[in-house]
Symmetry: C2
DNA sequence: GGCGCACGTGGAAACGTTTCCGAGCGGGGA
DNA sequence: TCCCCGCTCGGAAACGTTTCCACGTGCGCC
């Protein structure tokens, strides 16, 4: 790989001049510009970004740590964030924490070692240590979708209460009185928030308050199926079930259909298949890509010295079936 | 952010000693080790990976460019590759090309500027320029799922012919004689390969060779729906349709159901929803995560000075409905 | 016709590491 | 007692950039 010295030698100028030409510094003669451009092209020269960022303070790279690339919700969020960064001339480095805080910690250490300009992350449950140490090291951080106790960083979340309320009122209007909840892991803030919003709205509306109607699951497909089985085992079983994410909904749907049970399922997050199955699922739509884009914009502001601010996004009920 | 100089000052030793202690060089006294460790901990010191990689040749970072994070096939592949890299002590930097060769080019330039140790990529159609320039710059490259004309890099692909053959024979055994194909874009090698494999196997088995039974699409959901509509408009319409990827299958499924048509749909790539819809879809399963892992192993070998080799993976038909 | 000024350039420092080289110091063997 | 060796360490060079500083050149102006 050729360096700036090679270019300088070939162009017959000093490395300072090469640097000036290539970085668009006006203090260069047309002849130098021509010769340097020519030489750089001929050698296929690409400046070493690591050396650049050593000299400059910035790296132009933004770390993006998400919970699970295979979860479409997070994949969409990552995509939205990435597009926004790209538009601002930055490059993102995506890390997949795989819902595992040990892997997350590893990537966050790498981000820190790489001296990324900022980090956008949807934190894992387990430990807030990784995020906290980033914040303490002075690296701009914005949290995605989940909050973290004791970490002083802006967050972009959806209005959980609004979403749950929309869903429960929809089900109540359709005559349901006994509604089950398949909740995500309480180790993440969204999991906890959804449980408490569910309980409080259910009680406000005077629906069946039996505690066994709230079943905790791990957020994965299998966990959703198991939780659905447990709900169906109750007597009487709930006539409607609200599921906290798309993966669990898929498991729950299969369990319910396997039993031939007549239970109405409502899911968080809209996905194509929810329209394709019979009956189609009503959903609480959360625009993940938008969330990612908003969060990235916040992070870019923060990096450019702006003040931290958090945003709560609305959800939208899409009634079906 | 503290540097090695800060640690050295606090520990009362030279930076050379700090470096030796922290990199596990045995030429250090127990007292130095103790003092340095203590100081590093106290300062929350993280070595600057960019400075390290400037001095060393390696960066420990592997670039991973995939076509579309939102496509579960590629998300799985990325996940498999990432796990493999993680196990080998490397960190991956994921770039989402979004099926756009301009974005891809941008990320590949960034990879090159960052001097990543190697690049694993599922190339876009359009231009092979990006991949070629990496190879010419001497950066180890392995291609994922798609080949690229004129680029001398190992590839990991699935056995297209085998997959198509399994699907067509399955359909023939179920009595179908007029089978449609929704093909991916011919700008990518898999798109082209599937069309020619389809045509040759169809002819070998003596099935209806009408050229209008092969419909090209863009690989996206909407394109799949449109192609399905065109197939259904034929008279006679095909009684079975093979779709080249999961996104297009979802569009095609909806179109077929919307028409109330009695057409058997078989899809490449297995996804959860294909089991949930009615009727469930038979699929040609391609283990994307495994592909990613295999490709990463090949890349790691290449980085460590091994010789390049390509791998073709088998597909598996899962008959349903 | 000198003086100063703008402009272009080369040289060198600095960014934060790793590693080589040489030096100091102590101990053991002749 | 002296020498040599091994252990530990500090100093400095090098990696590839950017940018500051100073210097030379040519021009316009008094």
């Amino acid at each position: 790989m050729s360096t700036i010295h090679d270019v300088a030698r070939l162009a017959g100028v000093s490395i300072g001049t090469v640097s000036r030409v290539l970085s668009g510094n006006p203090a260069t003669s047309p002849e130098s510009r021509e010769r340097v451009r020519e030489a750089a092209l001929q050698l296929g020269y690409t400046p070493n970004a690591r050396a650049q960022s050593l000299r400059l303070a910035r790296t132009g790279v933004i770390g993006l740590s998400i919970s699970d690339v295979r979860n479409p919700f997070f994949a969409d969020a990552a995509h939205g964030a990435e597009q926004e960064a790209l538009a601002a001339g930055r490059v993102t480095m995506l890390a997949n924490a795989d819902e595992d805080s040990a892997i997350e910690a590893r990537y966050l250490r790498a981000f820190r070692a790489q001296r990324v300009d900022g980090v956008l992350m949807s934190p894992q449950g387990g430990s807030a240590e990784g995020a906290r140490s980033l914040v303490e090291a002075g690296i701009p951080v914005v949290l995605l979708n989940r909050t973290l106790d004791g970490v002083d960083a802006p967050v972009v979340t959806f209005d959980v209460r609004q979403g749950i309320e929309q869903a429960i009122m929809h089900l109540r209007d359709r005559g349901h009185r006994r509604i089950g909840l398949i909740a995500g892991p309480v180790s993440v803030s969204t999991g906890r928030a959804r449980v408490s919003a569910f309980e409080s709205i259910r009680d406000e509306l005077g629906l069946d308050p039996a505690p066994e109607l709230v079943q905790l699951a791990d957020g994965r497909r299998g966990g959703g199926a198991d939780a659905a089985e447990r709900l169906l085992d109750l007597s009487p079983a709930p006539t409607a079930v609200l599921s906290s994410n798309a993966l669990m909904s898929s498991g729950a749907f299969e369990a319910i259909r396997g039993r031939g049970a007549a239970v109405e399922l409502v899911s968080f997050d809209d996905q194509d298949w929810m329209r394709l199955v019979d009956p189609p699922l009503s959903v609480i739509e959360q625009d993940a890509a938008h969330m990612g884009a908003v969060a990235m914009r916040l992070l870019l502001e923060l990096i450019d010295g702006g003040s931290p601010r958090s945003v709560t996004l609305p959800t939208r009920l899409i009634p079906r079936g």
